[in-house]
Amino acid sequence: MIKVVEISKSFGNKKVLDKVSFSINDGETFLIIGRSGAGKTVLLRSIVGLIKPDSGSIFIDGNDITNLNKDRLNDIRKNIGIVFQGNALFDFLNVEENVGFVLYHNQKIPRNKIREKVTETLKLVGLQGTENLFPYELSGGMKKRIAIARAIIYNPRIIIYDEPTTGIDPIAVDKIVSLIEDLHSKFSVTSIIVTHDLHVGLKLADRLAFLLGGKIIFEGTKDDLNELKDERIIQFMKGSSEGPIKETEV
């Protein structure tokens, strides 16, 4: 279980997260939604310990990761796979080395076993046979699927997707959405999806949180969302520029 308790984070005078709290149950797909620049990525980075919040706590399986040393944090990170917004594939490594990176570096597994595991994982994301290609030889959708393969190869219990459909064409978006659904049902992982794409998000989510102005203004199920009368959320769902959320407000 992941529990975020009143975390706040500022950069200079700008408060990006303001006492944000929510919890994610094991095995559910949780959506964090909000406008671009709302602090979603900062929140996600805080959950994996890349950013230390100014105050508050983040509990993953009972461990407050804001107070852990690097070794303990790395132990917890072994259970988390992350798909970055820009994929973050290593340019100087081919697909096989990218996907098998964690296994090559952190575990004493023979190379042929790692190769087998890479092939198996690539098959899972529908990209078998691409082992020797380099990231610059792949399309946007393929890069995203390779990034997903790299995140799942070590069987994490939690997978985090940062804007998984940004910058790819609608057909590739559909493939990514089906892949996320497949992985979730096959491995019963906890999935956290951070996005501003409500259409994709609602298709995947069991529960969601809405981030606006650094605060969570809604947390609940899709049904709760439909019954909600909050003008700001209605405006966001409609995708209208008219309403309480101003153009400059994130």
Partner: protein, 254 residues
């Protein structure tokens, strides 16, 4: 207010650089090394720099030979161009020119590579996967620079001397054997060793500054800025440390 802010950011820079260097030394002794990566770095930093170093050192040797010949002609002592070329190259120009070439070629490219990795979240990806970015990315570059620099400098010295010989042989008809005898008679142990030690220091400076700057950008527009900073700051530190080391060797090796 502006001055105070500048002083503050200067000390913050020094402090952050200090922590960064400390981390490099920590991982240098406690980190696991991937030899394939190390070789890859050495090829890029060392071997790939040979053509540029050859070209510049050879022509610098020719230039020094002509400039000294111009003065020595007054005393009819052109034969001493061999000694002057050898001494100026091994003591100063070899290490300094070699490091300036490496700082602008390899240092700039290291900063650009790390900067691009930083803004495309590749460095964050390493951290999340439990791989320390300094151990994985920086230490191999540091080792490669510290090992490659002395080798490049010896090679630069040799090419410069050869350039000097071309002038000696073609303009003043100095025989090959005689030119090289004059070269090695002028050189003493101290000249070679001080040049080598300087080049190791300069290699380390390039690694520290180029890698540190590479970890600093927050956006793609910052990458150009940090590459410029890396080259300029490496140049400044190389010249400052050259003065310090020259003074040090002057007093120590007398």
């Amino acid at each position: 207010m502006g001055i105070i802010k500048n002083i503050e950011s200067f000390f913050k820079y020094i402090g952050d650089l200090n922590i960064f260097v400390k981390n490099i030394f920590y991982w240098l002794f406690y980190g696991k090394r991937n030899f394939r990566r190390l070789i890859r770095e050495m090829v890029f930093i060392g071997i790939d720099s040979f053509p540029l170093v050859s070209l510049i050192s050879f022509f610098v040797g020719i230039i020094i030979a002509f400039q000294t010949a111009y003065q020595l002609k007054i005393f009819s002592s052109e034969i001493y161009i061999a000694s002057l070329v050898a001494l100026s190259l091994t003591r100063e120009l070899g290490p300094v020119l070699g490091s300036l070439i490496v700082a602008s070629r390899s240092g700039a490219s290291i900063t650009a590579q790390l900067g691009a990795m930083k803004i495309s979240e590749q460095i964050d990806a390493l951290e999340v996967m439990g791989v320390d970015p300094i151990n994985y990315l920086v230490v191999p570059k540091f080792i490669s620079l510290v090992i490659s620099m002395p080798l490049l400098v010896i090679y630069a010295d040799f090419l410069g001397i050869l350039g000097g010989y071309i002038v000696g042989a073609t303009k003043f008809a100095i025989p090959f054997g005689f030119y090289f005898r004059m070269t090695f008679e002028a050189l003493v142990y101290k000249d070679i060793v001080s040049g080598m030690i300087k080049s190791i220091f300069f290699g380390a400076i390039i690694a520290f500054i180029a890698c540190f700057e590479g970890f600093r950008p927050f956006s793609s527009s910052d990458v150009a800025k940090v590459v410029t900073h890396a080259v300029v700051r490496s140049f400044i530190l190389i010249i400052i440390f050259d003065s310090i080391l020259t003074a040090f060797f002057y007093f120590i090796f007398i």
